[in-house]
Amino acid sequence: MKMVAPVLTVLAAIILLWYGATVWLNSQWTYDQAARAGQEVSFSEVVVDTMNQKRPVLPAPHQVAEGLWQGVFGQKFTSKRSLVFHGWITLSATLAGFALGTGLGILLAVGITHSRAMDLSVMPWAIASQTIPILAIAPMVIVVLASLGITGLLPKAIIAAYLSFFPVLVGMVKGLRAPDHMQLDLLKTYNASQGATFWKLRLPSSMPYLFASLKVGVAASLVGTIVAELPAGATRGLGARLLSGSYYGQTVQIWSALFAAAALAAILVVVVGIIEQITLKRMGMVR
């Protein structure tokens, strides 16, 4: 309960600031309209008007809330205007990409920790891959794959995997190298094979590191999917909602889609966190 008061205070402050910004940013349009019609407007009329414009520069919180409500509950989940529909399209590609990226990250990490050659050859490329802006890479991947006849979920999942493999790779390399000299020496006294060392020591030691990176990875995966939905003029997915909103100046739609994406990211991170808790508890690593 102690947590509730500060959280609500910060939330209230943000909403208050947001409303202030709404009035400030949207009033210009109201004044322009009034001037064009040759009318005088009082400040209170301006305030009321800025809250309810159809295409505001910055939609008011209640407009976004209503847009979200309409998007989620206002229509059938299968409707093209439903945020649930678009959210699911994005989510499915995100999860596919996350699975791909996690698998790739773990495999590369295992290779890197067991082979000096891979350590030297793969790691620089992995780092370099993340320095290229995803916005530059995504359209090329989409276009190349489309020319090969691959469209739909897979190209988006690949972009998502491209972003999410890296934190998993870095975290797992650190995790697999976490056992200290003494623990490795102990296994040496048992004449344990590399395989036994991996399964019995390295892999369990890496679990806390893995979950920390999975949280970063799943959020990155969502970002990758949304970015991948932008360039191809996709009609489905939260990214497509953002894009069509910006085409038609539907700022409320953009903000609703943004909040839906943020909520989705939060849910994904929380779910990974819950799996982490359960796994580590089962392993006896949480007291």
């Binding site: 003494m182 623990q183 020496d185 102990l186 296994l187 040496k188 006294t189 048992y190 004449n191 344990a192 036994a196 019995k200 020591l201 369990p204 679990m207 392993m283 006896g284 690593m285 007291r287």
Partner: protein
């Protein structure tokens, strides 16, 4: 065959190459350890006592001389799983229960499930940890964790037990108790034990043979045969005249080996 020493070192040398030039960690070590001996290595840090133990375990490779363990080279002995090694820290896996930790070497060495369970039960009772098998390491005190790590080293049938300051991180009361238990365990199992310590009373109380080492270069200064009776010794033997005499000799040996310089 019975007369052959279990561990035999002749002219053993080990030089580490460091950025500051070579470091002579071990110089001309000659030593025989007979079957069933309890041998302590004592000396100041840098005298090579741990390094020598690690050579026996084939965790370090000597740069010269001869070393045989159980009639084999140290490396062959390691591959034959001839010894159990107890480190200064218990090093139990936090994700395994105490029983799971003791089972670790048995799993790696391919014992059957039945055999694993039987042995875990046996060694846990040997170190007085019956009923703690299902606990996780963090639920046990430091002394109990170290006992579990000894159980882990005893779980498979190694005739040699190598212990590197196993009680160094424990308080004196716990250490006394574990010393007493270790002696009982040694007489019950008839293992050959190599024991590194920097405590004179601990070395005298436990050992049949005390190897006094000195630093720079690491070498054996003196080997003292204990005249105390073999087998379990009562803790208050440490107040006896004989005990104090041996302890005095060890201290003299350390002083003569320049252990107290600097």
């Amino acid at each position: 065959m019975t007369a052959a020493p279990v561990i035999k070192a002749r002219g053993l040398n080990l030089t580490f190459q460091t950025n500051d030039g070579p470091v002579h960690a071990l110089k001309d070590i000659d030593l025989d350890i007979e079957k069933g001996d309890f041998v302590s290595f004592i000396g100041p840090s840098g005298c090579g006592k741990t390094t020598f133990l690690r050579c026996i375990a084939a965790l370090e490779t000597p740069t010269g001389g001869e070393l045989s363990v159980n009639g084999m080279s140290a490396e062959e002995a390691r591959k034959a799983r001839s010894y159990g090694y107890v480190f200064q820290a218990a090093g139990l896996y936090p994700w395994r229960t105490i029983a799971g930790n003791v089972k670790l070497p048995l799993e790696i060495m391919g014992y059957t499930k039945d055999e694993q369970a039987k042995r875990v039960e046996k060694v846990l009772s040997l170190v007085d940890l019956e009923g703690f098998g299902k606990k996780f390491p963090w639920q046990l005190s430091g002394g109990m964790q170290q006992r579990a790590s000894i159980a882990r080293a005893l779980a498979f049938d190694a005739e040699i037990l190598l212990m590197d300051e196993p009680f160094g991180a424990l308080d004196e009361i716990v250490r006394d108790k574990l010393n007493e238990e270790l002696l009982k365990l040694w007489s019950a199992t008839n293992k050959t034990i190599g024991f590194v310590t920097h405590s004179i009373p601990e070395a005298v109380y436990l050992s049949t043979k005390i190897v006094v080492m000195s630093p720079r270069p690491g070498r054996i200064h003196e080997v003292i045969e204990s005249t105390l009776p073999r087998g379990p010794r009562p803790l208050d033997i440490r107040d006896s005249e004989e005990f104090l005499q041996i302890a005095h000799r060890v201290r003299e040996g350390l002083r003569a080996g320049h252990a107290y310089d600097e």
